[in-house]
């Protein structure tokens, strides 16, 4: 990984007013919900997917469409290092925000007299960190495939297809169609439930699906970026 790439990426993300606005919305509203309904505990904080989206959208595609990749790759920077640095930086940012959000949620719950157990907070932290690093990986792949912020469009298209397939599968009573929809959804938002692991019931399928989705997404993104031709002569 490249420290300069990671630092510059994080600075860019944290100085973008639009991203910050979305970050506040994604981070603040669940906390309001928790404050209003403390009996639900940490449940309203589903996963880190919104934060991955805020930090990760366009993480490669915007560099491609803006043209800054030419200058960047004129430097001694390996393309695989660039891709992994992008993924790590976006994941790290999403994970940190998720950890802070859970911490604030725990404080709010304590103030409302519904103090969560330390174990539950630790599991929520682990789940959200895994979710941040997981959800950013397929987004990285889509960003390598589509220029600009097109990755968000493709992501929501996949999400819509997955939802339709699940609804149709349930309506027709067709398990395979529902399963395809479910797997599509798992692909764009891979998660691990650490509660199962802690309780000695690890879901090996879930674990392997998570790791393979993340690994495959990063590997494919590297292949795509490695094959990219960067001169505008190739597109003019």
């Amino acid at each position: 990984m490249n420290g300069a790439l990671i630092t510059a990426f994080l600075r860019q993300r944290l100085t973008s007013p639009i991203r910050l606005a979305f970050l506040i919305i994604a981070g603040f509203f669940p906390l309001l919900f928790i404050a209003a309904a403390p009996a639900m505990g940490l449940a309203p904080l589903a996963d880190s997917f919104p934060f991955s989206l805020v930090f990760g959208a366009g993480m490669i595609g915007q560099d491609v469409s803006s043209g800054v990749l030419q200058l960047l790759f004129a430097r001694p920077v390996r393309r695989d290092v660039y891709v992994i640095s992008r993924w790590f930086a976006a994941s790290l940012a999403a994970a940190v925000v998720a950890v802070v959000q859970i911490g604030l949620a725990a404080l709010i719950l304590s103030a409302r007299g519904a103090t969560p157990e330390a174990g539950a907070v630790a599991i929520a932290w682990a789940n959200h960190i895994a979710s941040a690093f997981g959800a950013t990986a397929p987004l990285l792949l889509l960003s390598a495939l589509v220029a600009g912020l097109g990755d968000i469009g493709v992501l929501f298209l996949i999400y819509a297809c997955a939802s339709i397939l699940q609804t149709v599968g349930a309506g027709l009573g067709h398990a395979l169609i529902s399963r395809i929809g479910q797997e599509l959804q798992n692909f764009i938002n891979p998660t691990i439930d650490f509660a199962l692991i802690v309780n000695a019931f690890p879901s090996w399928y879930q674990l392997i699906a998570y790791l393979s989705t993340v690994t495959l997404s990063i590997a494919l993104a590297i292949v795509i970026v490695n094959r990219k031709e960067l001169s505008y002569a190739s597109s003019s």
Binding site: Q12, G67, Q70, L71, F73, R75, P76, V77, R78, E229
Partner: protein, 315 residues
């Protein structure tokens, strides 16, 4: 190990549109650029200049042929550490300020962190960007400022190979002078400069050799510091004190081996076939007491190359 830049039989074809229409951008380009040489690439739009530069930088993969820089592939990290590049489209990280942008590229170039602050200050000073401008976001920069910050990043770390794509395009006269001074500095310290430009006068001033590229081929390579062998029309102007007749001017032209095209009260146009003919003609006029004030070719050497490129090159 072969030093310098070597291009061997380079070909590149693009596929466009749904039908996959093939457009041949480079068709067997071969050339060699020696270390320390300033080498220009000129040619009409769509000639393949940018594609050639893209292959030299390792941004494009040729269909066949090879590019080596000091014996390495152009995308080898060892090459990238000694390379500077200024793109034609000055697309930079617009959210950064000029100072941070240079510090970022200093880090990417793997230059020592201990020298970062001093190197960045020196680079800013070199291109004439004051600290106030360097503290502003790049998105607020004018074209000229973008060109300056772009040049500053290209020259970070004193690269041995510098690739400049239209470096003086859209720049004010002060920027053009700065650009020429920087090229002069690069040449003094032995850097190899590859310059892709439409500004023929600038290319003619700073380059040792210039390749004329057309339809994906190197049609000619002109050595700028050698005697010109192509015919040119020479415009000679003298001070009002002299009144040479057309017959006298024609006689001087005939003596020198040139041809008088047109004679006026204070100037005349001669066709000279080479440098030696031009020199004989001017010597003859001055010896005869005609106070020659100015003698200029109507087209520059590179303009003539555009008009009448000789087939093949000397690479």
């Amino acid at each position: 190990m072969t030093v310098g830049i070597v291009v061997e039989d380079l070909s590149k074809t693009y596929r466009r549109g749904l039908a996959g229409e093939q457009i041949r951008a480079l068709a067997g380009v071969s050339l060699a650029i020696a270390p320390g040489e300033a080498f220009g690439i000129i040619g009409p739009n769509g000639a393949g200049k940018t594609t050639l530069l893209g292959c030299l930088l390792g941004f494009l993969r040729p269909d066949s042929g090879r590019v080596t820089i000091d014996g390495h592939d152009p995308d080898d990290l060892a090459v990238r550490t000694v390379t500077g590049y200024l793109p034609e489209r000055l697309v930079m990280d617009r959210w950064m300020n000029g100072h941070d942008f240079l510090a970022y590229h200093h880090a990417l170039a793997r230059l020592p962190a201990s020298r970062r602050a001093s190197d960045v200050e020196a680079a800013l000073e070199r291109v004439g960007l004051d600290p106030l401008a360097a503290a502003r976001a790049i998105r607020s920069y004018s074209r000229g400022m973008l060109q300056r910050i772009g040049l500053a990043q290209a020259l970070l770390g004193e690269p041995r190979y510098v690739f400049l794509d239209e470096p003086a395009s859209g720049v004010d006269p002060a920027g053009v002078i700065l650009f020429r001074r920087l090229i002069g500095e690069l040449r003094q310290r032995g850097a190899t400069v590859v310059l892709n430009s439409h500004q023929l006068d600038q290319v003619e001033r700073v380059c040792d050799r210039v390749a004329y590229v057309s339809k994906g081929r190197v049609e000619a390579i002109e050595t700028m510091n050698a005697g010109a062998t192509a015919a040119r029309v020479l415009r000679v102007r003298w001070t009002a004190a002299a009144q040479p007749t057309s017959e006298q001017l024609a006689a001087h032209a005939a003596y020198a081996g040139a041809v008088l095209r047109e004679a006026g009260a204070s100037e005349a146009r001669f066709e000279a076939r080479d440098d030696a003919t031009s020199a004989r003609l001017l010597n003859s006029l001055v010896t005869a007491g005609i106070p020659v004030a100015e003698a200029t070719p109507e087209e520059s050497r590179l303009e003539r190359l555009f008009l009448d490129p000789r087939p093949g090159g000397d690479a």
